[in-house]
Amino acid sequence: MSLTASGNRKHRAGLPQWATLPVMLGGVILLYWIVVGLTIPLWAPYEPTMLAGMRFQPPNAEHWLGTDALGRDVFTRTLYGVRYSLPIAGMVIFCAVLIGCTLGAIAGFVGGIVDSIIMRLVDVTLSFPPILLAMAVTAALGPGLGNAAIAMVIVWWPIYARLMRAQVLTVREREHVEAAVASGATRPRVLVKHILPLCWSPIIVNATMDFGQVVLLVASLSFIGLGAAPPTPEWGQMISDGALHFYRWWIAAGPGIAILSIVLGFNFLGDGLRDFLDPRSK
Amino acid sequence: MTVPLLQIRDLSVSFANRRGDPFEAVSGVDLTVNAGELHGVVGESGSGKSVTMLAVMGLLSPGARVSGSIRLDGQELVGLSERQMRKVRGRRIGYIFQDPMTALNPLMTVGAQIAEAVRLHKPQVGRSQARERAVELLRLVSIPMPEERASQYPHEFSGGMRQRAVIAMAMANEPELLIADEPTTALDVTIQAQIMELLERLRQDKGVGIVLVTHDLGVVAGAARGLSIMYCGRVVERGLVDDVFDKPLHPYTKGLLGSLPQPDARAARLRAIPGAPPPIGARPSGCAFHPRCGFALDICRAERPGLRPIGATTVACHRAEAVAMREAVEVSVHDA
């Protein structure tokens, strides 16, 4: 489902086809966060865990987003937060895609009992509301960012398994695959050389869209207290701090806007990517 | 002379394209239909026949600009407000759509859709009365077991049945005029004949005037009295069906007739018109048909021919006399 502008897709002269307004907006937002994440230690005004001044200062010239309950600089902590959110989301998506696509491809290509086992596992996993499953897994493994990430891989892989299986089943029927089989290619070779290369575009689109959702879920788990532990400048954790003092709005404002912008960015990008890779979906 | 049922005078319709440049879809169309008469309007897709009919209904998109005059029983329709127009639609003019598969709301029973048409114009009719009327209308269009059929959904009807239901809906308020926009195009040949029979019966029994829009001269041949041929947004030939069929004066009409399969030896000369109709917005200068016309001269490229009477028919062609001559020669050769 498309959440972003479909009416704004008038082609702009002098720009490549994919460079629509949402895509460029999404790209700029994400580029900004990546640059911040890579360079922040070089220019941050304060240390993220440093007690930088008086507690509960509203935004001012020294502390652009004020200070929190311990007197740490909210702006600095917000910028440092991206060093947790983006890499974790990236790892989660990478692992989920890897596991999901491998199992999905095997299920679709091998079929039979293997297919049944994998797909029933997928069905059961997708029967849980994502956050509940993630909570249960994290609780089982013990709280912590790493375990939260593992939990999210467990929640997310079945989506890609289902997608990949459907793709493999479609592509398998194409003539060039039959030709490869007829000319005596081994089965693994057929799968890797002739089927998989044609399966990627919906996976990529979905992964981009899901990236934002994973960022949201990481923050949610941290907010609940199952992810990052207190001194970590993680966004969900920071909002949780801010919730205790919600009448001091600025403590949660930075991380809130940060999450919002990154999720928006990925939604924009994913939408544009879908139009580019799959023109059929309008 | 009495006032004709539908009289269109010098009707032009223009739209704006994406860049905002206007282009004319229909230019200076004249059309007259008398009460109780079936009039055929024939042309290829894009000839402006559907746009003309939607203009009569006031159902063109808001961006359309309409000029000229459309009179129904002497009452001017161009310039009526949407509210006034709504009283005309469905009550005085019934509209039959090309594709009965898509012209019925899939989530309403057929009976409810017909009853809605009744109650829209006669709010005083009760629900059960309207339903009875719907059943009656289904019976009128020869749908078997109308009571049961009324409570079924469109997908439970076959294509021909649906078109009957659409006709019943159009007839709900006994309109003076039915506009049938390609009513048989989407149907099987045998069903086409049944639908045409039904329209003819409605004309005779109910005295309703019918405009039959089609790209198929064969459909018109047996049914219509008057005939207008449209090409590129204009009427190019107009007359009684018998006259036009006997002696086509416009090369386009001749082409249409020539591409008709015929049972006798003339079938040997069966041929299609070369080329395709130009896209709207890229219409040729002069006579729009000249690029496809075997009779074209320089004048055809330079100057647009106006309608002029020749014999019993009216035609817009510089070369009508030549066409008539050729026709005469061919017939005599054939007869010889």
Partner: protein
């Protein structure tokens, strides 16, 4: 009823069993010894206490044994006893269920109504200012974390403007209404307590709006897309040709058809609502299942975690099934098309 739904009905119990098994297994491979959360860290060095607690909570039995016992108990509505509250989990959940349902249903209603209106307007005035505002509003709703938007609206409407009360279900000085349904809105009315009803309603507005917002975006975009699709159909023109007015065409003919694809989205949005409810309840101190789940997960309260996970999974499965059934009931064509093999 269609074969498709029959097949779904048959698959339901199997999926539910899968959900139960996964939930059960998960919490029995925990890294931390659940005993710690029962008897406290200090007592862990006392073998007598540890043994007693182990036997008391059934942790001395083997995993398959415990699984079978758990399933048997579950069939009788027994989900074990919470380590934390020392109450039966089933009881805890039943007490908290109405609060969550009241919140989720209000949010669903608000989100759906608002989403449909927004979607219809956006489609009617396509690419106009209303469409763009609706698009923006939907995007924010789908992208912003509810646990932050909750804080923002609390700050604006409760702290700054003082229009609406802060967290909680009812005024903290007021007494909860006598239990009838557990829905405070209904219970206060039954008790004839108008002031209480008003307080409950005021307390409900913010959390329900925040939660509903997440759904508004999804619904409005879906309604817009399917309205645009439906409005280009010939039966819309046919309805106008009958003489139907614009409102009648838009609501009776277009919206009714556009709601079909939207129905499927409603089932899907339920996942969002559960996710959102857990976080919203935490923000608004809402004594529902969501905040219970959070407390359970934080406290390594295994029986409670399993219970909540099973209930959540069951709710999720049932909603999806209900959506499909509703779809089949509303769309007269479904029977045919599904049997024809799609």
């Amino acid at each position: 009823m269609s074969t498709y739904i029959v097949r779904r009905l048959i698959a339901m119990p199997l999926l539910l069993l899968g959900v139960i098994t996964v939930a059960f297994l998960l919490t029995h491979f925990t890294a931390a010894d659940p005993l710690t959360s029962i008897i406290g860290e200090r007592q862990m060095n006392n073998p007598a206490v540890v043994e007693a607690a182990r036997a008391r909570w059934g942790l001395d039995r083997s995993l398959p044994e415990r699984y079978v016992i758990y399933l048997g108990n579950l069939l009788q509505g027994d989900m074990g006893t919470s380590f934390r509250t020392r109450q039966p989990v089933a009881h805890d959940l039943m007490v908290r269920l109405p609060a969550t349902l009241e919140l989720v249903i209000s949010a669903m209603l608000l989100g759906t109504i608002f989403g449909v209106v927004l979607g219809v307007l956006a489609a009617r005035f396509r690419d106009g200012p209303i469409d763009n505002i609706a698009r923006f509003f939907a995007l924010i709703g789908a992208s912003a974390p509810v646990f932050w938007t909750g804080l923002v609206v609390l700050f604006i409407f409760s702290v700054q403007l003082g229009w609406l009360p802060g967290p909680g279900r009812i005024d903290s000085r007021a007494v909860a209404p006598p239990f009838v349904t557990g829905f405070y809105t209904i219970d206060t009315l039954v008790a004839g307590d108008w002031a209480g009803f008003r307080s409950v309603l005021m307390h409900l507005i913010l959390p329900a709006s925040v939660l509903g917002w997440t759904v508004t975006g999804i619904v409005s975009r879906m309604v817009r897309a399917s309205m645009l699709d439906v409005l280009s159909q010939e039966y819309i023109l046919a309805a106008r040709a009958k003489g139907a007015g614009p409102l009648r065409v838009l609501i009776n003919h277009a919206l009714r058809n556009a709601m079909l694809p939207t129905l499927t989205i409603l089932g899907f949005s339920f996942a969002y609502l559960i996710t959102g409810a857990i976080l919203t309840e935490t923000i608004f101190s809402w004594p529902g299942i969501g905040s219970y789940a959070v407390a359970a997960a934080r406290g390594l309260d295994n029986p409670a975690i399993v219970g909540v996970t099973i209930i959540g999974g069951a709710a999720f499965l049932i909603t999806n099934l209900l959506t499909d059934i509703a779809y089949a009931l509303v769309d007269p064509r479904v029977k045919l098309s599904r049997q024809e093999g799609s």
